[in-house]
Amino acid sequence: MSERARVLALHGGLLVLLLALHFVLPPYHHGNLARIMVLASYAAGYNIVFGYTGLLSLGHALFFAAGMYAMGLSVPHIGTGTALLAGVAAGGIGAILLGLLALRTRGVAFMIVTLMFAQAGYLTILYFGAWTRGDEGFVIARASRMLWGLDLSDAAHRYLAALALFALVLGACLWMVRAPFGRSLIAIRENEPRAAMLGYDTFRLKLAAMAASGAISGAAGAAYALLFGYAGASFASVEYSILPLLWVLLGGAGTVLGPFIGTLFMFYLIDLSSGVTSAYMLIAGIALVLLTLFAPRGLMGTVRARLWRWLP
């Protein structure tokens, strides 16, 4: 089997499996998996900047929340489809604006600049509480959760919409990392001065990576609000900037499937351990330490290193 066929079979197989699970999962796990697919889309967006370009951003909650609020606030006025696009645009434009400033820095300074802007975004949401309802957030009316005749508050429609988003993001990431653009990002991650020496305009490429990452994060934020009917300031908090980093690290930075595997693993680790003990974060912490010790490249990164070298 050729490398291309293997890649298509693996990723296509996952999507088919997720579709099959729609028909067999009990309601609780069915709902969980819909949420995981949306959050994994967010993590996949984050992976473009962190896993493929090597930029450790601590501000991606800004783009997730930008998509969420742009969708949530505009949907009563412009309709669901256009509001979704507004969410994608808000994430992408926010990332370009932040990138124009933050990409002038490197390393720790980049982390701090992205973190500070995300915190500024969080505080802005709280400050303009008259519109955003501050910490409390707001519910998206059921009437606004209709898209192309589908009621997205319905569990089945919600699952399929989450799967459609995840499939779209997975396909886009797969295409991107195998395209020259993705190769260029990998060159920057491996060694930026070396990439510049070969003729790459590294600033523009990093900005393009930020834009793509922000747009996907914005799409995930908008979809989250639409599918689960709620937008809140907690999604703009630093926790939502750290989470995609953890998911990607666990799943395997710089692998297309890593964000999904990491999100799935972390979600169920916390979900299952919280059912056993109130100290569930301790269990999650120990699992993270063990994984870092024994699989420092993350789950899919380890699979690629030891088993499937062709894994994108």
Partner: protein, 231 residues
Amino acid sequence: MLELDRVSAGYGAAQVLRELSLSVSAGEILCLMGRNGAGKTTAMRAIMGLIPLMGGRVLLDGAEVSALAPHKVPRAGIGYVPQGRRLFAGLTVAQNLEIGMRTRSSPPEVLEEVLALFPRLRERYRQPAQTLSGGEQQMLATARALCLRPKALLLDEPTEGLQPSMVDALRQVTLQMRGRGVATILVEQRPDAALAIADRIAFIENGRGGEVVPVEMLRRDPSLLARYLGV
């Protein structure tokens, strides 16, 4: 073809090159020689725009490349193989070459041309660069630079620490590039290697250009070489 016109450059306040002037024509190999710290590598980096010029200019086919942003210099047609190879170690041979091809959106046949020059790389095509031998890594670094189809090629000590068969293979490729009209500047420490391949040898001392001597003259009288190098 490639010309340095009174180029001054350095690192921060420390000036290394002092009004260095050199030129190399199409289909010519110019070897830079000098003691350690004389400014040979700095000259290469200055040509590539990797360090800012304090004065002077670099011209390729009469067009000033020193006015370009560093990432535009390779696109203008100058390939650089730095000392120490500087590969993307974690990526495969194929991926390293793809990255080289991407810079100027080189047509696919360029890859075949390059692999024809280095058949060993075809055998190692899916292997990570870090697992290659030193000589193979040097081949890959050179091949990656050739993916640009450069008009001028800068080679910084390409044969340092390599076994004789690898040295010979790389030398053959450099000569083939000369045959295709590529202007090459080669930094070389070993006199025998320089004499074997160069058309002219330029001596640099303390960042200043010294004598530029046709290699036939040095072959006829090897004592001249020691005199120019001050050893």
